[in-house]
Symmetry: C2
Subunit: 236 residues, 2 copies
Amino acid sequence: MTEIRNAVVLLSGGLDSTTILAIAKEEGFVPYAISFRYGQRHHIELSAATRIAENQQVAKHIVVDIDLAQFGGSALTDDIDVPKSASADVLNTDIPVTYVPARNTVFLSLALAWAETINATDLFIGVNALDYSGYPDCRPAYIAAFEQLANLATKKGVVGDQRIKIHAPLIELKKSEIIQRGVELGVDYALTTSCYDPLLDGVACGQCDACLLRKRGFEEAGIKDPIAYRDGAHFS
Amino acid sequence: MTEIRNAVVLLSGGLDSTTILAIAKEEGFVPYAISFRYGQRHHIELSAATRIAENQQVAKHIVVDIDLAQFGGSALTDDIDVPKSASADVLNTDIPVTYVPARNTVFLSLALAWAETINATDLFIGVNALDYSGYPDCRPAYIAAFEQLANLATKKGVVGDQRIKIHAPLIELKKSEIIQRGVELGVDYALTTSCYDPLLDGVACGQCDACLLRKRGFEEAGIKDPIAYRDGAHFS
């Protein structure tokens, strides 16, 4: 009889988090998916997260309400316009205006709280240091620091011989490599949404940073992106 | 003209957090108080926090809703009975059932998010390693790990020359020393509440761990506790 290993997977409904859910299952974990309603403008992603959780048959999916918008400070929750990068020059090293203050720290903390109560020592997060080089909380040093904190913060980490592990299997991958890995694992990317600024019916704008990164990733992978874009272009 | 330094102060409405609010002001910070409605049974503490924030004239006080009860796992949010320690033997090294999974990590993360948006690099938290030796997230190593994380997680920490600092000025103090310090700073402890299991009108039970620690602290400090207890005893 093999040991059952639960894992908490941060599931936004986007391409990256959907891929890590498939990776967690591939590695033998029983996935518990957690999503956040945090005042995001692109809340349509929560519908995508729900579809994906059903499609990938997670043990449980919860959506946690946490109003980051009351703090202000980001184009994703404020009235600051989401930038359109006609030049696709999104791989900069400045911190973008779409950065949400301490978002991954808040999300990982809540995932950690849930992990403690479902007897899980493994958390999966779809951060990526290449595409999101401007976000401080998407870097390997940040993930290592959170893992260290988690092992000082919790019963599991302090008592007993189990260590909490933060899995960030996409952190060093290119978007095209993420897509290729997901396709190998049977991920249905038609269920995912990436756009920061979608229409009400969920159609992606095709012009924000997230859309441009996604389109470029599919293009480089040589795979057709199954979702539609407002501007009609699959390959920009 | 002196520089204005904002600080985020975690304010539960209890004795410790009220003392750190006074300490933050004494050190010259403009205090922004943050409290959490997290499904706690002793939610009466939020009324206390509001009174204290007004009394100490903070720049702003926010109460953040975060439903930790949906995760389960603690006597403070579940239907597990709060233990009554007739022997007052509460200074044990086991992790108590009143421990809430990852609570301080969740609270500090949200405080950090607010700090970023109000241009603050200082956070104050009233954790105490002596009285709460059983809580992993009240220890110096935990606070140091969170500070390290915060400086990797945020714009302020990553860009520029300012470091984020987590102030835990009570961490090595005895309860009686905390009370003496607060009285020196003019704290009105009549406004505070400590009980884990108060009556509906807010009267403290006098028997839970938090009440016993508080009563012992005032007794050792030789100061009269200004609040009432259900059992009528100020000195147990």
